[in-house]
Amino acid sequence: MAIQFILCFNKQGVVRLLRWYDMCACNGNGSGGSSSNNNDELLPQDLIAQIYRLISARDHKHQSNFVEFSERTKLVYRRYAGLYFVMGIDLQDEEPIYLSHIHLVVEVLDAFFGNVCELDIVFNFYKTYMVLDEVFLGGEIQEVSKDMLLEKLGTLDRLA
């Protein structure tokens, strides 16, 4: 029950945000995430390109938001305007709850930036990471109360 990675890219496939919690996701068969001489190991960039191709090709009205991606990773994604938010999760995990996770993050971002748009995330990427790090810890959700999150984020923001 943990998120392997969180990824955010726009319709053109330009990455806006990415955070790995479990680098093994790069490793197609999931064996020995740290062994770099493994041929099956994908560079993160190739992996992202694959994910982008897969997801951007999907029909957003008619298809589900879940894709089985590799032997150990499922993707849960959602598009908000021009931005895709993608989470890589373990195969045995429950997809719908992660969709709620994504939605929670986006709602918090929206409240934090005040009607968030892609440019907010582009220019304030470090703040976006701050938001992510208050919602998740090591790939697990740590706080679900929006009020609590926003209060904490407001304080942190003022510390700059």
Binding site: M1, V15, R16, L17, L18, R19, W20, Y21, M23, G33, S34, P44, Q45, I48, D59, K61, H62, Q63, S64, N65, F66, V67, E68, E94, E95, P96, I97, L99, S100, H101, L104, V122, F123, F125, Y126, Y129, M130, D133, L137, G138, G139, E140, I141, Q142, E143, V144, S145, K146, D147, M148, K152, T155, L156, L159, A160
Partner: protein, 864 residues
């Protein structure tokens, strides 16, 4: 100082901003590349500069992070990130922690540099934000060493720091502990259980969802450590885990029940998501409880709450709305829990299973695809628990076939095949065929790998289902079953033949072969051939690359052409199906697969050659036969060795007299066991095992290479037919087992004449038929001692030609012939002149082991 720092940070920020703007503003990819490379080099040199000001350093690290997001190399900045953490400035520290957790991963040796800094920050006496940053970083970036070194520090925060009443810090600590335990389960040994007690029992965090959530995560980490603890095989560790830790946390099962049920009635708006109270926490608690009750070891402290847990699950299911998104999430987690429970008996679980399946079924009716997707996904997995309950929701599953999402269709198909039985076979298969027809009608629009996977799934499942189920019960007529299945198979061939693999084609051919209702079968086949043989429709109705369709057509022509053309019960369009079109179809196939050299094309050629050979006795038109002969002859120069060999052998057979060929090329018998059709490999190894190395057997090997028909034929019509063609004859090396089963008991006929006798063996002859130029008789050998390895060599005058049959003996199954047994061998002579025979017999005596040989001449009264 404050003013100077703000102005410089403004400048710095603008420098980052302008970098981002430049990248965004790049007109072409090359422009963008140039900007990025330039900046990357700049950052690299800047970071090397020891005299760089704080704010500039910060900006460069920010740029580095942006480069990281763009997917650029960033390893050169790693040490700099760690240096930044060591700074006293909170803003530096924060950026340092962020960049460290992004740019480094847990395999990095640099992590050891972090140990001290993290330890200091975790124990920071006054700044809660620094503590929280350190906890965050430790949670997401942990090596085993780091975990071991810092575990005590984290526990210390909970127990002694002045922040231990702040839920914000506490939840991070607990979650961090969970992460560290996941990393290294042996840390459980030093886990201070009071920490849990403190967080759960005190009233401080009673209703704080964040803390509850992290406690739940900590329990999960502990429960999931079972495997790695057992693997470590440290007695003390196992003892501590099983007798202290697990019983201790089990105490809190009722508390978890209470919290979970409390959420049902919770209406505080803070956590309410569309009418459901904190679905995140609900799901997490359900998952944790499921882990408790699935604990691999029987623990009384857990199992005594079993009944209550079932009760709680039912309550959650009943009190959660299935119409809102968050409600569905909770219900789905509940069903997942139900079907994963292992430690309960069946009577306890039965009502839960029904509840779970009904919940999933209501999901199927949902409009949104996500819900349908998870419902189908789960239903496939839960069928074994309660097939009938799933059966009831057939209608909704069928509806999912019309869904736009391929993954939903795929799962629906999987599910349909899983609920197949004798009763619904017709209904469901018809639906699936409609589905395929629609696909075909749309010319496989948007076709991709997923579709191909799905079609393979359909074909394979269909073949398996046909072997397993029958419609005979439904209709009450067993022959209906095979005809109906044949109809479906032809349809499948037509629609998706180009996806069928070679093994499946074998299965399909066997179904064709074994269908016994001849008239119906021919009707279907003639309809199929009507499409194949009509030249102008070939293009539109059947895809050119539909190799399976072509192979089956070719095979049917080879098998059934004669019966089909003569059959009076089946109306055949003789304009389309006649000898001429049949032959030219084969020629056309030969032509179109001349260049194609992949495996399936080669298989097709093998079938083609066999059909051409078979047709040589089934057609009457001389020109057609000549065309077929040419077809085979051309292939004797084929570049593929196996095809070439086969063509050469077939060419020889082709020129044999018609009566010989007719027997050899007769129709195939019914397959006894269609599921165990011998593959090429096993057939080949079987041959090798039985030690057949003689020339005539090699021919057999070649003949049955990849053609099941000849393979079978050999079994039923034993090899003697071929051996008759070839001299000198040596027998007994071929002890094909099947032929022995059906042979009659051989006795010495009364009218047999003795032609030779010695102390070891007597030889008799019996005339079968005698015509002008053709003479047939049988030889009988009667050994007077027990012998083995009998070989007969026979010669006639030069004007005559001799064909010797195989040795038959009814009293033995191997090469050994007991005393006074009777061995029969047939003999045919064609040609002119007096009939004179020279016979040489070699055999071994079983008593003495010595090799014996006898030779004699015999003159018959008859003249050819």
């Amino acid at each position: 100082m404050a003013s100077s720092s703000t102005s410089s940070s403004k400048k710095a920020a603008s420098s980052l901003k302008s970098f981002i703007k430049d990248v965004r503003g790049a007109k072409t990819l090359a422009d963008e590349r140039a900007i990025v490379t330039k900046q990357s080099a700049k950052v690299r040199t800047k970071l090397r500069d020891d005299h760089l000001s704080h704010s500039k350093r910060r900006t460069n690290i920010q740029k580095l992070l942006y480069l990281y997001i763009l997917g650029e190399q960033t390893h050169f900045g790693q040490v700099e990130c760690i240096n930044l953490i060591a700074s006293d400035d909170f803003v530096d520290k924060r950026l340092g922690y962020l960049s460290t957790s992004l740019l480094l991963d847990e395999s990095e040796d640099l992590l050891t540099l972090l140990t001290n800094i993290l330890s200091n920050d975790l124990n920071h006496p006054s700044n809660r934000y620094i503590v929280s940053l350190a906890l965050n970083t430790l949670g997401s970036l942990t090596s085993i060493e780091l975990a071991r070194d810092l575990f005590p520090d984290v526990q210390k925060i909970i127990k002694h720091s002045k922040f231990n009443r702040e839920p914000l810090i506490m939840k991070k600590c607990l979650q961090c502990l969970a992460k560290l335990i996941t990393k290294d389960s042996s840390l459980l040994e030093i886990l201070d259980l009071e920490v849990i007690e403190y967080c759960l029992d005190s009233n401080l965090f009673r209703m704080n969802h964040g803390v509850l959530l992290s406690i739940s995560k900590l329990f999960q980490a502990i429960l999931l450590s079972y495997d790695s603890i057992s693997r470590n095989n440290d007695q003390y560790e196992i003892e501590n885990y099983n007798t202290k830790v697990i019983p201790f946390i089990s105490k809190y099962i009722p508390t978890l029940f209470e919290k979970l049920l409390g959420l049902m009635n919770d209406i505080t708006p803070e956590f309410n998501v569309q009418g459901t109270a904190d679905p995140f926490l609900q799901c997490d608690l359900i998952y944790t409880l499921t882990l408790f009750f699935n604990f691999p070891k029987e623990i009384d402290d857990i199992s005594k709450h079993g009944d209550k847990f079932i009760n709680v699950l039912i309550q959650v299911a009943n009190n959660t709305s299935s119409t809102t998104g968050p409600g569905k999430v909770v219900l789905y987690e509940t069903t997942r829990s139900i079907f994963s429970l292992k430690n309960f008996n069946e009577t306890e679980m039965k009502p839960l299973y029904t509840l779970g399946i009904n919940t999933l079924a209501t999901f199927l009716k949902a409009k949104d695809n996500n819900t349908k997707y998870v419902a189908l996904n789960s239903l496939v997995k839960v069928i074994p628990y309660d097939p009938e309950s799933v059966q009831r929701h057939k209608k909704f599953i069928l509806n999912c076939l019309n869904d736009h999402d391929i993954s939903i269709k795929m799962r629906a198909i999987e599910l349909l095949f899983a609920i197949l039985n004798n009763g619904n076979l017709i209904e469901l298969i018809n639906e699936i065929m409609n589905f395929l027809e629609n696909l075909y009608a749309n010319q496989f629009k948007n076709f991709n790998d997923d579709w191909e996977k799905m079609i393979h799934l359909i074909i394979d499942s269909l073949i398996v289902a046909f072997k397993k189920f029958s419609i005979a019960e439904e209709t009450g007529n067993p022959s209906d079953d095979s005809i109906w299945k044949l109809k479906i198979l032809i349809k499948i061939l037509k629609l998706v033949g180009n996806f069928i693999d070679m093994e499946t084609i074998n299965d399909i051919l066997i179904s064709f072969n074994n269908t016994e209702n001849i008239d119906h079968k021919f009707q279907l086949i003639s309809r199929m051939l009507l499409i194949s043989l009509k030249p102008e429709t070939l293009m539109d109705e059947i895809a050119e690359n539909n190799i399976a369709w072509n192979i089956v057509s070719i095979w049917c022509l080879g098998e059934y052409s004669d019966s089909l053309l003569l059959n009076k019960n089946v109306a055949i369009n003789h304009e389309v199906i006649n000898e001429f079109t049949i032959a030219s179809y084969l020629q056309k196939m030969d032509e179109s697969y001349r260049i194609d050299k992949d495996v399936s094309a080669k298989t097709l050629i093998h079938y083609l050659l066999t059909s051409a050979l078979k047709l040589s006795v089934k057609l009457n038109d001389k020109r057609c036969i000549e065309n077929l002969r040419r077809l085979i002859l051309n292939r004797t120069k084929d570049s593929d060795l196996m095809i070439q060999l086969k063509a050469v052998q077939y060419d020889i057979l082709f020129n044999q007299p018609a009566n010989v060929k007719k027997v050899l090329l007769s129709a195939m018998p019914i397959f006894e066991n269609s599921s165990a059709s011998p593959s090429i490999d096993t057939a080949a190894t079987m041959e090798i095992k039985s030690g057949k190395t003689k020339k005539n057997d090699l021919l057999l090997d070649l003949l049955d290479y990849s053609t099941d028909e000849l393979q079978e034929q050999k079994k039923e019509k034993p090899a003697n037919l071929l051996q008759e063609l070839l001299q000198p004859n040596t027998t007994n090396n071929n002890s094909s087992s099947t032929e022995q089963q059906q042979k009659p008991i051989i006795t010495l006929p009364d009218d047999a004449k003795e032609i030779h006798s010695s102390e070891n063996i007597e030889v008799y002859s019996k005339l079968i038929s005698h015509e002008e130029g053709f003479f047939q008789m049988e030889l009988y050998f009667k050994p007077l001692i027990s012998i083995n390895n009998l070989k007969t060599f026979c010669a006639v005058t030069k004007t005559q030609k001799l064909t010797l049959g195989q040795l038959f003996c009814s009293t033995t199954n191997n090469d050994t012939f007991p005393k006074h047994s009777i061995i029969r061998q047939s003999l045919k002579v064609t040609g002119t002149g007096k009939l004179k025979l020279r016979l040489k017999l070699t055999f071994e005596s079983n008593d003495t082991g010595s090799e014996l040989s006898e030779q004699f001449d015999h003159k018959f009264d008859q003249t050819l």
